[in-house]
Amino acid sequence: MQARFYRALYRIRRVEEEIAAVYPSDKIKSPVHLSIGQEAVSVGVCEALRADDVVFGSYRSHALYLAKGGNLRRMIAELYGKADGCAKGKGGSMHLIDTRARVMGASAVVGTTIPQAVGFAYAVKLQRKDSVVASFFGDGAVDEGVFYESLNFAALKALPIVFVCENNRYAIHTHQSKRQKLDNIWERARGQGMPAEQIPNNDVQRIYECISQSVGQLRAGSSGPFFFECLTYRLKEHVGPSDDFQLGYRTREEADVWLRTDPIEQLRAHLDPAERRRIETEVEAEIKDAFAFAEQSPWPEASELYTDVYDG
């Protein structure tokens, strides 16, 4: 399991570092909201999910897309605005989708996909399937009314869904304490009628265990939903490839605390060096291939402008 976690975390981290490295060349024609620092939440959750389980995310969903098995080549091509992109260059970084991997969409408007995940879970239950849905959102989404409406309906109908709040404390540059009276997101979910727990410290192992247990119960026929508030930290700026400590809304010391417990570093220390090198070599080759694929992919045809507005 440690090696699986390491591969998944390292892969996402390195993909995004490559995105950041390429970004100044202006080849990536899309605003990128990097997940660097937050990978553990997506990996911990998605490692506990099955291929037919479904996820919905936010505009910061590179990690979720990759952790759930979204196609890497098509993701990079999408960032490049190319025809082979997962949305044919018409979605961009903020609207990643891979229906084969059951990554069912991501929205740039905060909180927007939460009810869609709930609706998908309603359908899954009606269709008597045993797959589950995971809804990813940040602490900013908890400010939105739709968050409460969605949790209420999911609880009312006992839906097979796991809510995953990635609490990185900031909505763009505004700390949670300036937006919410109480630091108790998980308790609010309990108040809506579902089991809820807070998981500190980017603890990928703990997240994996919690989700595995919840999903196991859902598949066994227990009532949903479940709620997890996962404390995590965004190391890069809200949007773009760089650090932003110079802005003054947060300190480098605050980030250092999270860097010291970075799960990638911790797992690396425990891995057999030969296995670690093998994983890293394979991942680096895959990333190189994906960027080369994106570079070589053609631009969309002009006719694509008017394609997929309506059916047919």
Partner: protein, 352 residues
Amino acid sequence: MTGEIERELSYVDAVREATEQEMARDSSVILFGLDVDDPKAIQGTTRGLLEKFGRERVFGTPLSEDAMTGVAIGAALAGLRPIHVHIRMDFLMLAMNQLINIAAKSRYMYGGQAQVPIVVRSMIGKSWGQGAQHSQGLYSFFMHVPGLKVAAPTTPYDAKGCLIQAIRDNDPVMYVEHRILHFQRGPVPESSYTVAPGKARITASGSDVTLVGISYMQIECLHARSYLASAGIDAEVIDPIWLSPLDIDTIVESVRKTGRLCVVDNGWVTCGASAEIVALVIERLQQIRPVLVRRLGFAPVTCPPTPILENLYYPNATTIASAVYDLVRGGDNGWMPKQRVDLQEIQFRGPF
């Protein structure tokens, strides 16, 4: 309309029958919204459906228009065909993010990997003091946005056919019902049929002027046509039925013949459906022939509940006839037909 039909049905029963037939035909169709399962059953349009199809497929919802619209979208992404009902169109303002940012855009921004086959039924109220927030015809908001379809059927026949089409359609459809039209009766075939998007209907032919009446204003336009006939003016009346996609060809061909166009909307004229229709007609005909145009709609104010002011707020058959008389004869003639009992507007039968 074919020969087989002579059965009469109310608009309400046409909507109910369309829903029932589609739910029986396709188990992926589900129906929900505030009060769809209550004793009043949305004026009767959902009556009996809970009993027939069960609580999983027919259910009332929390007062959460925003989330429940997202739920509809998510269920559609999973392969269901949800019908989401709103007893007033005004309530859709609480659902705009989901409708505009997700429902309309999913097919495109996900590169064709996703589709959102939802039907959003909403009702426009009128009279009996419904006032500011129970009366708005806001469909032009949705006409503005690529990716949405908009139907505003007037007759029971079109109510059934448009709803069946909307349910089977793979795109999100805003299905707009006028509360006053619910009382209409008309021929409706028992069998299942669709009224295709993007096809208007000439409801009365004429040669002097083209009247386009949207939703309930279609009824008033047909009455206005009778008043105009008494003044020797022969009006052609068109019901667009679908506002998006809009069958502008049928309207253009009529105006090419008449040279005069009056669009009567069940909404405000500014940036509305009437503005769009007039602009499209002028763009098509401006190099070909001179065209005179007029738009009529709600007064540019908030709808007042008191009947004295409310009567001034809405166009009706006599005010439409008066405006069209001036359009045809030229000038400001001050002609106003005397109201005929047989051409009075349909009244809402209160109390609530």
